[in-house]
């Protein structure tokens, strides 16, 4: 059996099997996985990370596939992380994103990894950032992360990606939906996908009026694509390049990376605290006792939470 250091050496030498095994260890958040991540972290940071998010059925996988093909045409090597939901009942998952990216499988410069959310909210899997770090250290030019079908509030991807692309489709709500806080606000690029459907132009205009009213210095571009017809993909790749140039300016990238690092450290610390608490009280029965009192309305949830962490 190899040591984790052997695998790290293999990854850095370009061995895909070593990369893949390390991704599993990182995803499972094992002690050796953490050791690998610690060794790889300083070797990462050169890949451009693209986050692609949007609601279920908005065409993210198809669009990701089309975008990946375009980036390959432009000579970029690619890591793709595709996330699908874990069942809250069985903790199992069906990961089906490879189906729409079949042809990319035979390209040796593309490495596609599917991940399940494993109970994480926010649109990503708990170890997505670590998996991205490993693909980055492996030497991929671009790492494309496709979130689980996201609603309005799954904004975690923006804290991890250099460029966040939000995908919307016509016929999914009026312009007040678009004005709501959350997912619309994290977009560096807004994409109206399935632009062959009626009302795509209307939606693009509504989005434009909202973007114009935004106080940000950089205007969020709005693009129309039809992933399944391979339309508008060129322009999307161009817009991603432009955003990359924008954040490469002195000051912008540093601020962005600081923000990302802060978010990552806090998210991990939060998770550690929760794990520690649960490990403690799942066994001593204190959590169960509190939950029962809350369910019986003897105790309110806030007081119960206070008691749990006291």
């Amino acid at each position: 059996m190899p040591t984790v250091e052997d695998l790290v050496k293999g990854l850095l030498a370009g061995n895909r099997r070593a990369l893949s095994r390390l991704l599993t260890l990182i995803e499972n958040d094992t002690p050796v996985g953490r050791r690998a991540l610690a060794a790889l972290y300083s070797r990462s940071g050169s890949a451009h990370t693209i986050g692609l998010t949007g609601s279920a059925g908005s065409g993210k996988s198809t669009l990701s596939g089309a975008l990946a093909r375009e980036l390959r045409r432009r000579g970029k090597t690619l890591g793709i992380v595709a996330i699908d939901p874990t069942s809250p009942f069985s903790q199992g998952a069906i990961l089906g994103d490879r189906i729409r990216m079949q042809d990319l499988t035979s390209d040796p410069e593309v490495f596609l990894r599917s991940m399940a959310t494993r109970g994480n909210l926010g649109g990503l899997a708990p170890s997505t950032a670590g998996v991205v770090t490993a693909l980055d250290a492996f030497g991929k030019d671009v790492v494309l992360v496709e979130t689980v079908g996201a609603g309005q509030d799954e904004v975690e991807v923006a804290a991890m990606a250099d460029t966040t692309v939000v995908v919307v489709t016509p016929g999914t709500g009026d312009d007040v939906q678009a004005m709501k806080a959350g997912i619309m606000e994290i977009a560096d690029i807004l994409v109206v996908n399935k632009s062959d459907l009626p009302n795509a132009d209307l939606l693009a205009r509504q989005l434009a009026s909202i973007v114009d009213a935004s106080p940000h210095e950089r205007r969020t571009p709005i693009l129309k694509t039809a992933g399944a017809l391979n339309e508008g993909i060129d322009a999307l790749a161009d817009a991603i390049d432009e955003h990359r140039a924008y954040i490469s300016q002195a000051g912008v990238r540093e601020a962005h990376r600081l923000e990302q690092a802060r978010h990552q450290v806090l998210a991990l610390a939060r998770q550690r605290l929760i794990d520690r608490l649960l490990a403690q009280h799942a066994t001593d029965g204190r959590l169960d006792a509190l939950v029962e009192r809350v369910a019986a309305r003897v105790l309110d949830p806030h007081s119960a939470a206070d008691e749990l962490i006291s």
Binding site: P2, D6, L7, R17, L23, D29, A93, R113
Partner: protein, 140 residues
């Protein structure tokens, strides 16, 4: 979360388009708490091995109804070996229409079980779990 999830690849090599059985098995393994990568129909042996490599699966289940298993299955094993995945590192099983006479030769190539029509999904789950309980760690 440090639990070791069982990751399974379910794939259909060759040209038959009937994926009902493969989907039933994929769904059953999901409901048993496993993470199932489903690649769909019309997979070449190379695509299957490549998916197994990139997804680092513990288990590969192939479904075939076309009768081409004696041709395609050994090619899957070879494509795995080409990627440094030895047959004893993954649990390889198959299902579909496979005559009894072919079962022994397939087992010699590295398939650990062949599940014919009428197999209960419970048996498949049990088989996978028992194998997973003995699998070695990926690294120390």
């Amino acid at each position: 979360m440090t639990d070791e999830k069982i990751r399974v690849l379910i794939a259909k090599p060759g040209l038959d388009g009937h994926d009902r059985g493969a989907k039933v098995v994929a769904r059953a393994l999901r409901d048993a708490g496993m993470e199932v990568i489903y690649t769909g129909i019309r997979q070449t042996p190379e695509m299957i091995a490549e998916a197994a490599l990139q997804e680092d699966v513990d288990v590969i289940g192939l479904s075939i109804l076309s009768g081409a298993h004696m041709e395609l299955f050994p090619r899957v094993v070879k494509a795995l070996r080409d990627r440094e995945i030895a047959p004893d590192e993954v649990l390889l099983f198959a299902g579909g229409i496979i005559p009894d006479a072919d079962i022994e030769p397939l087992k010699k190539t590295g398939f650990q079980a062949i599940f014919g029509p009428g197999t209960s999904t419970e048996d498949i789950i049990k088989f996978v779990r028992e194998w997973a309980a003995t699998r070695p760690a990926r690294a120390t």
